[in-house]
Amino acid sequence: MSGLKSTDRVLSLARDLLRESIAPSLPAELRYPAAMIAAAMAIAARELALGQTARASELAALSALYPKAKPDLEMLRWQLCRDLRDRTTTSTGEARFRATLKTIVRERLAISHPEHPARC
């Protein structure tokens, strides 16, 4: 039953089948929808494979900014957003905020668009 733990691989295989065996035979007007389906499956597979690690990484980065706060990802995101909006405790020049945001973005890119090399 170990296959049930490899849902990301199942999705990847299904996507490869769609792209390699089915899409080339589709009429022109269906190729874009097929490409979107393949993209959605790839994102879902990467989310399954990498999502938990990415969220843990983001939580660790945000917790380092707010060491006394409860380690709740959603709460810490909102705390950071409020601080940035209200300018209460941060300065945009602070290197540590920028480094935290870069960490978050790189993790997200790895899931959404791994083909896009991070510039930040």
């Binding site: 929808p33 979107m36 389906i37 993209a39 959605a40 994102i43 959603e74 995101r77 909102w78 950071l80 957003c81 940035l84 909006r85 300018r87 941060t90 945009t92 905020f97 920028r98 945001l101 870069k102 978050i104 973005v105 790189r106 997200r108 890119l109 899931i111 959404s112 668009h113 896009h116 991070a118 510039r119 930040c120």
Partner: protein
């Protein structure tokens, strides 16, 4: 959604003067999510006219103008000498086709960005074409409020730059979105509000993908549904966004030519030097804007209103835009310490 040729045929004589007006051809063109475009060939007393009929798509986004307003904007741009499809007629009566629509002359050319930037004629003429695009923007920006027919467009009260920051913060609040990178970028922008260089009619979506290019030459600027009054530099900043280069990243002006060529064309037509030093701020704002639009489109899917895979995938553009924000701000600070 099908159009009633019978209803259309009965309306056409009111827009096209002639004793004999006949529909020869009607075919839907590739359009956006906001509108529908139809190729319409009509013979008027034996002379064939190649037109486009433009109307609302069923899922029009509330932030864009409807077809009546867009037609008025098209008329104003045409009068100002901007290269646009010539407006032919407006039907504001929704009883004819079920929604307002207008007619314009059909221009030749390619609008798809990925094809444009790879076209050998565009590559060969890139600098000249970028300068032409600059001249078009300068012609448009000569329109300052009040503009005939455009009294429905609000005029910014105060700094257009501040107004945009406030607008995007408001949209994030409406979405209930906790997006730290966007908040950070908006704070960076708010720390450096540029002086207003003017208040003009701006296209607000002037970029590769929204003009027609034929044999390396501009034939028409399209898609005026976001036009508004704002700082002219907003149009330049949006145009220079990396995401509008369709992979030809080294050609900063829309994947077509250099930013210097774009600016030089603009200055040549406007007759005054451009505040080139302020454009990078507007580039960053443009990226924030695109990110907010992506979030809004994804929200339409998430709220269950539209089971549309394309909308669902739009949210995944966000990390690319966030990466661009962080990288571009780093570059700007390096170049202007």
């Amino acid at each position: 959604m099908a159009l009633s040729e019978v209803a259309l045929a009965s309306w056409l004589p009111s827009a096209l003067a002639g004793s004999s007006v006949k529909i020869e051809h009607l075919e839907i063109l590739g359009g956006g999510a906001i509108q529908e475009n139809w190729a319409l060939d009509v013979s008027v007393d034996g002379t064939r006219h190649e037109l486009v009929l433009r109307t609302d798509a069923p899922t029009r986004v509330a932030v864009s103008w409807g077809r009546i307003e867009e037609y008025r904007i098209l008329q104003a741009a045409h009068r100002a000498g901007v290269t646009v499809p010539a407006p032919v007629g407006l039907c504001a009566d929704a009883a004819v086709l079920g929604r307002p629509f207008y007619l314009m002359r059909r221009a030749r050319g390619e609008a798809r960005g990925a094809k444009i930037v790879r076209d050998p004629e565009v590559v060969a003429r890139g600098e000249e074409l970028a300068a032409r695009l600059g001249r078009e923007l300068a012609a448009l920006h000569r329109l300052t409020p009040p503009v005939e027919g455009l009294d429905f467009i609000p005029v910014p009260d105060g700094s257009p730059a501040r107004a945009r920051i406030a607008e995007y913060r408001h949209r994030l609040d409406e979405l209930g979105a906790a997006e730290p990178v966007l908040e950070w970028a908006l704070a960076w922008l708010a720390d450096r509000i540029p002086e207003t260089t003017g208040v003009s009619l701006i296209h607000a979506d002037f970029r590769t993908g929204n003009y027609l290019i034929d044999a390396g030459r501009l034939t028409a600027v399209l898609d005026w549904e976001f036009a508004t009054f704002g700082d002219p530099l907003e149009d330049l900043g949006w145009m220079l966004g990396r995401y509008w280069r369709f992979g030809a990243v080294e050609r900063e002006a829309g994947g077509i030519g250099s930013r210097d060529a774009l600016f030089a064309g603009y200055e040549q037509a406007s007759g005054v030097p451009l505040r080139r030093d302020l454009v990078p701020w507007w580039e960053v704002l443009g990226t924030v804007r695109w990110a907010v639009i992506a979030l809004m489109q994804a929200d339409r899917f998430l709220r269950g209103n539209e089971a549309n895979l394309e909308l669902a995938l739009t949210a995944h553009v966000l990390p690319i835009l966030e990466d661009e924000l962080l990288a571009r701000i780093d570059e700007i600070e390096r170049d202007h310490p």
